[in-house]
Symmetry: C4
């Protein structure tokens, strides 16, 4: 059974949380969260890619109190970090998505609700309170059901739509089978269809042949800005700009979908070139340190997303655990900015990074 504790936790580093969470989580839940797909090459590469770029600090810059605040699509954030959408927080904590949404708001970060949440978008919005929040959708087979979800999200105060495009087939997550673990009883989908016409629809049944027409559908039906999540190539990024997307989200789904797709940090620079500053870029997958946030921003990201560490924090301390994860990451970012000599997040540029191995 998933933990249910609500308590302050001491986060030494986001990396340490995995070992700590493994001790309190049931094995299936832990490996569902921690695992990737296939050989988990992309999972490992997401973190390893950061080791190929160093930060070149500029000392004697006179920076005293770095300002980590930023704004994205009108949302003001205490730090340039958001909670990436992850399905079924009930695996991590009995309070499900409510704790994550609450802890994220407490930290002044942005919360992105997954469509395959255990709680409903309305309940999550209630927990998130005055926090900034977006809604992530897996586009369902039935457009009517897509419309219902988009409208419910808008009504619940979500201010942007994130359309995930890298999951039109399930990734081959093999850990549970390899370890012989069985899933617990399903914890429920909070966003099951409400309209009688949609009976039988299910958030897990997604449309496979997605195109930009579906992006346009989301834009039209919600009237909200739409970001495309899963961008790994400059070509798709440029097309997003052309099609009027509100943002590009660079992600490989935390190494959980197509194994052997590239590390997001490795492809970020070329994608930033293609976007050319016209729309904001979010990047996730593998970010564990303030230095990682800094390096992503240096190479073109506007905001970064974190995932697994939040679920570990949730498992260990509920909403307070989630907040502590953000606070630890913020403290590391402040330290990095202080030492690098960057007074605010907009000043973090490619001038502050370099290849680790010089030719």
């Amino acid at each position: 059974m998933a933990p249910s504790s609500e308590q302050k936790i001491n986060v030494i580093s986001l990396r340490d949380l995995e070992r700590q969470a493994e001790k309190v989580l049931p094995p299936f839940g832990f490996h569902f969260i921690a695992g990737g797909s296939g050989d988990e090459w992309t999972l490992r590469e997401n973190e390893a890619a950061f080791d190929r770029v160093v930060i070149e600090p500029r000392f004697l810059s006179g920076v005293k109190v770095p300002d980590t605040t930023t704004t994205i699509l009108g949302a003001k954030l205490a730090l340039p970090v958001l909670a990436a959408p992850m399905g079924m927080h009930g695996f991590a904590h009995a309070g499900k998505e409510a704790g994550t949404a609450k802890g994220t708001a407490a930290a002044g970060a942005l919360y992105v609700t997954p469509s395959v949440s255990n709680l409903s978008v309305e309940d999550i919005a209630a927990a998130n309170g005055t926090g900034a929040r977006w809604f992530q959708i897996y586009f369902p087979e039935d457009p009517g059901y897509a419309r219902e979800q988009l409208q419910r999200a808008k009504a619940a105060g979500y201010t942007a739509i994130v359309l995930t495009v890298d999951a039109t087939s399930f990734g081959n997550r093999e850990r549970a089978a390899r370890l012989g673990l069985k899933p617990p009883p399903h914890l429920g989908f909070g966003n099951m269809p409400k309209s009688p016409a949609l009976a039988g629809q299910n958030p897990d049944l997604q449309k496979k042949d997605l195109t930009f027409a579906d992006v346009a559908f989301c834009q039209k039906e919600s009237g909200l800005p739409v970001l495309v999540k899963g961008v790994l190539t400059p070509g798709l990024a440029a097309e997003c700009v052309k099609q009027g997307c509100a943002g590009v989200w660079v992600s490989n789904h935390g190494g959980r979908q197509l194994d052997h797709s590239p590390a997001t940090f490795a492809v970020l620079p070329k994608i930033a070139d293609a976007v050319g500053g016209k729309i904001p870029i979010v990047v996730d997958s593998g970010i564990r340190r303030g230095q990682d946030v800094f390096r992503c921003l240096a190479l073109g990201a506007s905001v970064v997303g974190i995932g697994r560490p939040l679920l570990y924090g949730l498992a260990l301390g509920g909403a307070q655990g989630v907040e502590a994860v953000f606070q630890r990451l913020k403290a590391e970012l402040v330290m990095t900015m202080q030492l690098a000599g960057t007074a605010s997040v907009d000043k973090i540029t490619a001038d502050y990074v370099a290849p680790a191995v010089r030719s």
Copy 2:
């Protein structure tokens, strides 16, 4: 004694099969199959080379049901994968090559019978039934014996000849000696000479000074298309085209012959350049994932061959085990094509791959 079970097996991934097969196989047989030559550098490098190339998926392509079928030299296949020729399946299963041939046909893949099989080409053909099949020959010292084998193969419905050129000396496979393992009694060669004039000939006695004259001999005596197996250089590939070969087979014999020869995936692009699309290219050695199939096709292969995983499947489940291996690989290829946005195998091109480390 080799296993003899006939049963469905659950293939989590082709990589997992090695550990599973080790539990059911006698040690000599297992290490004969799993081992490579020398330091096993090429054996490891065959798989490692894939980690240097990533797949760049094109999301929002509107692909719904990727088509994995293909045709090679007139043979229609359900997936672009064939069973590479491997000697003496009796080490893996009491049913010897019959199970492999049967399971390959059931999966709609192409079966390549080795000349050093335990069963005869006729018995293997019978097990293969209406499946597509080619015959691989180690050219013997006596051309009369070569002729006999080619004619028997043709008569048994094999539609192409594969001449292996990388085994004119035994590779130094050292595992058994290092582990102190003794081979079991010989399980017999199914293709011992039938003509009285060939008495004393043996499939293990091969001609060492092979040239293209021997390729021409195979072409002439069989009247079938001939592929050269063991191509590792653009020069030999270009000569194959010039000499009228039906196909080029890029292989280092699964790392079992000349250790420190290159990974096939590493040399594939230059060979594809040399071939220029004039004849099909088969590639084997190190392929374990649908993503590997995809990457080989992207860099110029028409069809890929797999080896050891089939023998592990055979050991674990007989013909059903072999079929399950193909089905798992096919499922991974479908997932890869779906996510990459390639509707059919001919659309898998170099545009979908890139170096893992960008400069």
Copy 3:
């Protein structure tokens, strides 16, 4: 409790000392010394960077007795090595900084006293005797307190000031927390303010918004040459030259401050280019071998600093242990110079090194 032995020690290599010291030091003290910040990437990279450059010896050069002496800012040294400033030697040995200062002088090396020493600059100077010594300062929040420290240092015979610029925020050293270790009672700061007007000032409270004005302050108030410690970029190095600094000290604080900043050895060549020989360059962080000293000098350093190995030597043998560390490093440098064919330290140039992997 920290060790207190005073004895000759046998130094097989500086690298061996860590394991030996771990046996005699209390865990908190050991990990405080041995650890780095964050993921300890920079800590490891500091040593790993040396493996990318080889020494190309010039045999038959007729060198008989290499001369390791050198001069930096007027100080004559028996070897081009100094004791880098490290806080609180009381963690390593009951005699605190006195043993380090004494052993360094005995070896003919230069001692750099940290401002956050357990003993006072005066006591350390007394232990150092006629040895060469500089004073390292963490610039405090109160300039008056900075002035007092600079004046005390000058009065005690320190001949240069080293201003550390890479520690305007504490590095996230996580070992103690991760291991659950508690610090022992504080061993005292030897340089607590003496002037009544400075009551409440503390060496640990440092100015965060350092600029070159603070460098100028140190120059003016001490009347001594000032080196900037923590330089990791050519830009800051060039500015140091322009601002009249007496030297540039390339350091990442032994991997204890901003993790994922570059290895000092990796950035040394570009910094040497920027300095252009106008002022001396000190480099520390990761130097463990005579070959490392040689390679640093080859790529532009005038003198190198070592840190942790001295504290291990101190822990194992007091002043004699410190001296033995320098003597071992000197012996390795003599061997390296003899074999490389360099008769004196000024002859160690980039001609003697090359990339380990040739293209």
Copy 4:
């Protein structure tokens, strides 16, 4: 006590011998032989450098029986391999150098006697019989003693002189100290001075300030061809050609002298360029496989030297063990040449190798 068995041994691979020899050798002797200097980086790199170059076999070349014979400085060899000079074979076997010299002759290889042998050059020559042999000298402090050694070697049928230039200082071999091993009683130097005028001279007391004048001395006093051993740079190689040396010997002393000097295989190509085919090149350090011999010849070596594996063979089987090591290496070379399609050693060129990782 060192082993004394005389017996045939089964050499699976030269690499396997280390583990086997460790079981029969006293620890000091084993680690004296197996160890390198310093961090043993160069020791490891000597073997690792081979992994960066692959062999590109040319199949269908019609090669039947590759010819491994070669000639160097008039000596006809059954294979392009010699026994590199190593001191004090008494650590490996009670028969000291006699077994090595005898086994080398039996294999048709060339034996290079070290000046610091336990047996005398005359006794070693007697054991070597009609085999080809050279004499390696560590130039002593007293030229008269050098003259005596050179004249004794010439009189005993040694046909070339090898002057080692990379050992003017002892390398820092640290294994014995680290493991707490004590050397056994000295086994004697076979080449102690005979002339009364040389009383007190000792092969271990070497001249430190070697120059080409000492090379000329060896040439003049012996009247024999002189090779310089220890060449690691194109500059020294070119100078050897200019000074009339008979050959260049690329070596880093098996990683036993200056640690962090380059792998010999890594520097071989540039040295071969500098020599331009004017004099033969010998290369040693790290060669363990027929493929290594092949790759060295491909990149410019005339003959390769092997060291440690011979002492392991000696320890395990005396002269028969030594011969078996050469025979195993020869068998691997024959296999490599057969598969690569090179009929004789002069046909092994750079066309047969390529970088393992292609750009």
